[in-house]
């Protein structure tokens, strides 16, 4: 007991670089305030306050990020007893997350496309009952989605910046738990939505367990959970490699699951399809950014020196992911599932950049994340617009001849699909280019060839949708295209414009992404 006390006396209050972590503190603080709003505001006033709070928070966080980023030390800052690192990639990832979250929040806040919003008005009702139909027709929604979004975002920001595995695990849980809930909040097709939530939760819990077990083994190996200590231990000792690689394997499986890299993708199509579309947009864009931010940092920080041992395995994973995404994407008949498989394929491409383990690989992957996220948010914005009497008409056959009903929506969607396919003059092409050229420079030519083959196959299924929209006769009782309100219009505009700008003048973003490397 005396030992315990003497240890306690050695504790030091950590230094905190408040300015560096201000964006993160703002988001998490606002999430708490948002909970209080839920508790104390009357039901009808919650939506307005929540939207205002969320938007102001994101803007404030973005401003503080910019202010700090302008004269941040190039080498990065470690803070909170070195558990967080605010270096250039962190700043870029935070900026990306805030931007994407802003787009997703606009979609979440929209109440014009689906009267009352895409979220359930009262959650604890059994699907398919009379009460459920009453609920679906009600105006108003569960505004808990706003604090949940902010908590998830805060978790993602910590995840990207985490410098040790335990912090990373806590952040992983903070970002995951709200997402599990948000997946189950769809106003319509409650059963599908709840199924998505349960599946995501169960599989996500497994993944978290893998992650935690991996941490335990790595702690056993290195005697520390800090990335830098693990790297030092791996570089210069003759300890048991079994612990190291078993730990790394389990850890990476947990990360790959979150990033929906095949073959750890099985939750992706179901969850993307069942979740409310704005939440799908948030998950597809932001979770991917956070997860790949984590993958990059872990691989570069802890395992770079042993890459000869594990790179082959991740080659295989990347190929599997691209193959699964591209080939199964071809067979999908639901738009949301199709985009889900496309995200699996994109995760494969991102992994190609992540295992390059060079500064070019990092900056290429970061740029790819930004480009892909913005395109994805806009894509799901469009998906939410095509509706029939039962809600969103996501079956592909219902999209036939869409260009005749709404040429502008079809045109924008075409552009976004071309970006996902990686056709030149869109951000998708620049992203693929920087990632693949980085991979080529670190000697992964065969992998790049395979990646390009699969990107050609994947491109085909996007083109198939384009042809369907333009050259098929619309069904007589087909869906209508809702005229979006200001929020959704803004989200789609931001996404589509960014896709164009990042495709034609990407220099500024490439410069930001390449401004500096990780600090460990």
């Amino acid at each position: 007991m005396s030992g315990f006390f003497s240890q306690a006396q050695q504790l030091q209050a950590p230094d905190v670089a408040y300015q560096a972590v201000l964006p993160m503190l703002l988001v998490l603080g606002a999430a708490c305030v948002s909970v209080l709003f839920e508790a104390f505001l009357p039901r009808e006033r919650r939506w307005g306050w929540q939207v205002a709070l969320t938007v102001v928070t994101l803007a404030g966080a973005a401003i503080s990020l910019i202010v700090y980023g302008n004269d941040a030390p190039k080498a990065g800052v470690k803070t909170f007893s070195d558990v967080l690192t605010i270096d250039r990639p962190t700043l870029f990832l935070w900026g990306t997350l805030l931007l994407l979250a802003f787009g997703a929040v606009l979609l979440i806040a929209d109440r014009s496309v689906e009267p009352g919003g895409a979220f359930v008005a009262q959650a604890a009702i059994r699907p398919g009952t009379l009460q459920d139909r009453v609920q679906a027709a009600k105006v108003g929604m569960q505004t808990e989605v706003f604090p949940l979004t902010l908590f998830a975002l805060g978790g993602m920001m910590v995840f990207c910046a985490a410098n040790d595995l335990l912090t990373m695990f806590v952040a992983l849980e903070v970002l995951s738990l709200p997402l599990y809930l948000m997946a189950g909040l769809a106003r319509r097709r409650r059963l599908l939505s709840q199924e998505a939530a349960v599946k995501y939760f169960l599989l996500g819990a497994f993944a978290s367990a893998f992650f935690l077990y991996g941490i335990a083994l790595l702690y056993g190996y290195a005697g520390s959970v800090k990335l830098a200590d693990i790297a030092t231990a791996a570089a210069g000792t003759n300890r048991s490699d079994t612990l190291l690689f078993a730990g790394m394997g389990l850890l990476v499986v947990g990360l790959l699951f979150k990033a929906s890299v095949g073959p750890f993708h099985t939750w992706t199509p179901d969850v993307y399809q069942g979740s409310p579309t704005p939440v799908t947009a948030f998950m597809a864009a932001c979770t991917k950014v956070a997860a790949f931010g984590g993958i990059l940092r872990v691989l570069m920080g802890a395992f770079a020196s042993t890459n000869w041992e594990w790179r082959g395995v991740l080659w295989g994973v990347a190929i599997a992911s691209m193959a699964i995404g591209a080939v199964l994407g071809l067979t999908q008949t639901d738009v949301k599932r199709m985009i889900a498989y496309s995200s699996v394929a994109h995760a494969g491409f991102l992994l190609v950049g992540s295992i390059a383990l060079t500064s070019k690989g990092v900056s290429g992957t970061l740029f790819y994340l930004l480009a892909y996220g913005l395109t994805t948010v806009a894509t799901f914005g469009i998906v939410s617009l095509v509706r029939d009497a039962d809600g969103e008409a996501s079956h592909l056959s219902q999209w036939a001849g869409l260009a005749k009903r709404s040429p502008i929506v079809a045109g924008v969607f075409t552009f976004l699909l071309l970006a996902l396919a990686g056709i030149p003059l869109t951000s998708g092409f620049v992203g693929k280019f920087v990632v693949f050229s980085a991979a080529l420079q670190s000697g992964m030519a065969p992998l790049v060839v395979v990646a390009l083959v699969f990107s050609a196959v994947a491109a085909f299924f996007y083109l198939r949708v384009i042809v369907l929209m333009y050259f098929s006769e619309p069904a007589a009782d087909g869906p209508t295209v809702t005229v979006p309100g200001a929020f959704t219009t803004m989200a789609i505009t931001i996404g589509a414009l960014a896709t164009l700008v990042l495709g034609v003048f990407p220099s500024f973003a490439l410069d930001w992404a390449g401004a500096g490397g990780f600090t460990f």
Binding site: I423, P424, S437, L440, A456, A459, L463, R464, V467, S507
Partner: protein, 494 residues
Amino acid sequence: MTVLLLVLPLLGCLAVLGLPPKRAAAFGVAVTSATLATALLMAATFDYHRSGFAQFSVNAPWIPLIDLRIHLGVDGISLPLVVLTALLCALCAGYLARPSGQPERPRALVALLLLTEVGMLGTFVALNLLLFFVFFEVVLVPMYAVIAGWGGQRRAAAARQFILYTLLGSGVLLVGLLLLYSRTSTMDMVVLVGRAGTGLSHGVQVLGFLLIAGGLAVKVPVWPLHSWLPDAHTQAPTVGSVLLAGVLLKMGTYGMVRIAVPMLPEGAVALAPALGALGVAGIVYAALACLAQRDLKRLIAFSSVGHMGFVLLGIATLTPVGINAALLGNIAHGLITGLLFFLVGGIAQRYGSTDIDRIGGGLLAKAPRLGSLLVFAAVASLGLPGLAGFWGEMLAMLSAFRPAGGLNPALYLVFLAVAGLGTVLTAAYFLVMLRRVAQGVVPPRWTAERFGDVTAREWVAWTPLLVLVLAIGLWPRIVLGVTDGAVRVLLRGG
């Protein structure tokens, strides 16, 4: 001026979407004509004594981090192709504007046509590898849409095959370009040609050549990667077929001449025999396949594979003569096959079919002028001396007598012999086709039908092609004089 060449159709492409549908085709004619005028003006002011160097150059940074620059220019190799492209696009736009056959959704079709033109012209004037690739890709999607949207009955499958093959091809091409970039850290084509492969190891050169030429081979198409072509040509609407055969295929051979051979000379020497072998295999294969075809469009499509075989043979010799022959063959094939597809389009409009048995002969009796034009185009295509098709094939075979140093002359003699056999077979299938379509008596089912001979509009559209086929046939220096200087620069390495 090169910028104008690209900006005109691009602006046109955007503007046409805002016009009323009825005006679209006429507007398309105006834009493509203006582009053609620009191209002709360039040809007129081109300094032919310095044809080996890029003229009208523009060089501005675009995305410095990946070395993408807007580096454009025209030299002796690209000038004829630029003019050919502008000409065929203008003729296609004119074809769409004819009052008898307004297409469905004219706005979209004209816009896609103009976008394709931007891509095609851009491919030929780009002097930055990545820019070249960007334009190369820009062509694909609108072409896919043209086939998928306005094609024949089995258009979906044909369009799918087209896009899968060509996207895979561009993927491989991109890897090759990236490999080149990662070893030289420049994308500038002029610089790379000047270096002529110095500083690149033998292995890198061979691999690079394999990837780049392999990617381009899909587009050419080199046998056995050609199987997308017959379906795409057959199912595409007339304008699509004309541009596919007339210009798109040339992008492949142009890329080989411009990028693969001069930048990776050791790789070229190592792999040229294989290229030549595939070329002559294509010649013979296409000729045999043509003998078995019952559809006019399919027959012409397969004949393209054969003609491109000659072009490849010319390139594979790696000599100035051979490459000049290849470039001449390119132009001649573009003109002749463009004309053939227009003529077949005319026949299809009258007979409602392109099936040889269904037409059943007697075209010369039924529509003598149309029949004569078909005979003219067919004999030009089979390489009758005095017409454009002859020189490309003859010079290619001639150059195979004396391939460049480092290549096995005996092997090329074998190629020569096989190619000679191919010319005989080519003549055979074209003559068989003419006997079955043009000659003979009019079958009873068509005697009652009344359809006119060549209309005034058709004359206007086809005359430029006829004149050029004849002119190049009689005086090939029109093309060779322009290309020769540039070819020598490329092969000397700057």
